[in-house]
Symmetry: D2
Subunit: 283 residues, 4 copies
């Protein structure tokens, strides 16, 4: 069966891991076309790609065979992805459409492998037009003081559409720990500052007050602690003398678009491994 | 008398300032060759340069005449610099020589107008060779638990050499509020992080732990609050997956060199105005 | 009458220009809120903005009064723009939609002052959907070997819609000198290389062959000589080892989008002056 | 015997190379600690590092054993480096000292593994002081119309000092094809433009005339065709409106320093493979 696939692997570092990984594929007569590895102190991380014939009918089948490797290395974990599996991206947005538009257009341009956007959820009806233009199911879900009220509706959508990844395209409501645990799929946020500077709702205002010379944007996985999740990508842009908060927001939008789209791309190409609240991002 | 000079001017913003400034010089038959202005909310900032004949024998004489302008505008302050005035730069360093070497070489290359380095003070005798190579007076001043003990010796040097600007080239001791007040001249620090992230002594370690994708450096004026002074310049560099703290320090050195040398240049070219703990930096 | 406006002014450099410009507005009791000037060898360039009351009912009326200034300075030329004048942007595209989408979305987001897109002309029917989504008139114009045949139809559109600016959003046909002369309005192109490297139709292929470590994009005014017009904006992105031409094209698209949108913004905000085949771009 | 080492390997791409390379080391009970590979169309490139015991007493001994691998792959070539081998860097300079100073200081800071500067050759006696400060042998060699006259003296120095790498730190004389062939070691140049734009002696002047918005620097291996060798590293910096050629030269110096020092580092860390007039640069 002709299938392209990739493997993400991590374990505690020790001598001989590279040889074991490579030998496994050789033993199954599968030729590795791309091998990338990193170590960080006591940890080892690798990503392998192969193209062409392979003997495994499904990811589950591969995982079953690959147990012989993971069993050998302490702390071993892996994820496998066959590139012909369709992927579903769910998007959340609030009032600002720029990162949403970018994610939609990159998906439409085919930048993300085998990906379709399965829904757009927003607490603002004004976002509907961006969904309608591209034939994306839109769901207006009003937010309440008690997040359980709107999160239940959101989870109902997630149950129905089964997204593989959720992207928060400048969605400005805090997700509860319960929501994050129940949603199960990775949730990628774009924060409008160079984290860890300027956590919270008003980063451009804080950047203005501190008089920084570069402003930035950060895309990270969402965890219960606000703006504290593993960072996937960051970018910056230069501020000019006298730039107002409004101007910073305008130029910051361009960085947010780039950083969010880049981070989504890495996640959807299965090029990230998280550990110790950090993210290894492969090329 | 043929003299090049510049004026830095700030006041509360209102209509008509540009016209008044320009008219002043026209009335004195001085032709402005460079005019740059910014506003930030309620404030107005300008820098003017002129070359060629002017009627003022000294900065004091200019200031006396210019009072007619500053008197008209609320919150008005100004500084004047004649480019033929020699400038004295005093340097402090500890153990890491890279920003020190950069500052020395830029001075020697003539990047800073009419500037000589008047001393190097260090709490490490290993820094002496960098001073000796360039004929710069070197003073080893041991640090004590009670900063008053070494700061008194440092202030003695400052009294003797009268620096116009002090540059802290990775000087790792905290200067007391008393020292800053007594030294009087502007003090420019290089901090090895992208402030306000990672204040304090171990920024690369903190950046590593947080898993940021860009590390940076910040040059700022020193005020009593640690790493909180008005920012002059910032720069960043990309971290690669698996980069150790040691590697971050190595690539960070290059950003520190650039940012510190750039900030010193702006200060020595009289292209900065501070206000509200921020810095306007002119081109 | 309350109107915001800007003036772009250039002339041969000599002493006293700044004073004359500022005095003119003072004499008409108009307060300049933004003044930015540059010199380049023998030339002087300035851009002034004012907000609030002014005595001029129209640009023509202003120009008539301002003749007293232009008459005084050799080589003087100026352009005036009242910010309440609506502006019409015409777009040309071929097969690649990314810069087109970016220009449309930035216009819709209000990034360009008082601007609407008056038409999209394409030699590919596949571009129609991008126009339809945003309610922009679309015109498919087939290209012929003899450019006069399709350019006549394009000029007919230009006569009908009267664009103030034309943007070539990866339009891949060469415009004749006749077309450029007849169209009259400024034409802004995005070229997919860091000019002057890699002129012509296959820049990514040439960049790949030369083994450059950064690829770029250049937005410039169109003149009859191919890819030789005054440069407005340029950007670059880093190439990784082993990047294919296809990969370069994908990452290059992001630079093209940024550079084209940025250049269009500068033109539509009236922040450019061309001279000697160069462009002064104001902040 | 405990030795750190690296292997650079290239061959025509085919399936199974990674497995063969890894198996070779496994068979010799050597554990690979770093593996990095790229493909470019029909070519395969890899760099491997290992630390700790290995059975080879010398590079020659390793090469002899490794023949079993190179014999299996068409177009196979390799280079091996044991990190305890001292490396000798020879420098050439003319009148501008900035890249020279940077290379000297980076070497002194220990940025390059096990490297000492074995000579500085210059056609300007003013460069002597930069050598003397750091105890580097200095040789003034006058240039003549007939390059054979000074190149013979330069080759005599090369024969005497046996440099592993030569760095041209803004050395402004063209090296003859004969010299390049006779010197044998790799020669790394820094060109003061973003190649392939602005080949030759006056790149900043040409950049100024063309009105580019970014200027750059390029470090490349020297081949007989002027400024046409395989590119190792490039960098750019933004030009401001009205920047003179002189100003471009000043800001360009900083890019030249960074790019040259970075390229030398990659060469001295054995992280480059050249092919088809291109360079693969490993992380």
């Amino acid at each position: 069966m002709e299938r392209s696939a990739c493997l993400l692997f991590q374990c505690n570092d020790k001598v001989g891991i590279i040889a074991e990984l490579v030998s496994f594929f050789k033993a199954h007569q599968v030729s590795i076309s791309r091998f990338e590895e990193y170590t960080d102190q006591q940890y080892f991380f690798a990503r392998l790609e192969w193209h062409g014939d392979h003997p495994w009918g499904s990811v589950a089948e591969f995982d079953d065979v690959f147990k012989t490797i993971t069993g050998q290395f302490e702390g071993a974990r892996h994820r496998t992805y066959f590139f012909d599996q369709p992927q579903r991206l769910g998007l959340f947005a609030s009032k600002e459409p720029h990162t949403l538009i970018e994610a939609i257009n990159r998906t439409e341009a085919g930048d993300y492998p085998n990906t379709e956007i399965c829904f757009l959820i927003s607490n603002s009806p004004a976002m509907e037009k961006y969904a309608v233009r591209h034939g994306i199911p839109f769901h207006f879900i009003k937010t309440f003081k008690d997040p359980a009220r709107h999160e239940e509706q959101q989870l109902e959508m997630i149950r129905q559409y089964q997204p593989d990844v959720i992207g928060l395209a400048r969605y400005m409501k805090i997700l509860s720990a319960d929501f994050i645990a129940t949603a199960k799929c990775p949730i990628v946020n774009i924060h409008h500052s160079f984290l860890p500077s300027f956590i919270g709702a008003k980063p451009y205002e804080l950047a203005y007050q501190r008089g920084v010379k570069l402003i930035g944007a950060t895309s990270h996985y969402v965890i219960p602690a606000l703006d504290q999740g593993p960072i996937i990508e960051q970018g910056v842009i230069r501020v000019q003398p006298g730039d107002s908060v409004e101007h910073m927001k305008r130029i910051g939008r361009e960085v947010e678009k780039q950083v969010f789209a880049q981070a989504l791309g890495k996640v959807l190409q299965h090029k990230t491994i998280t550990y110790d609240n950090k993210t290894i991002v492969f090329n």
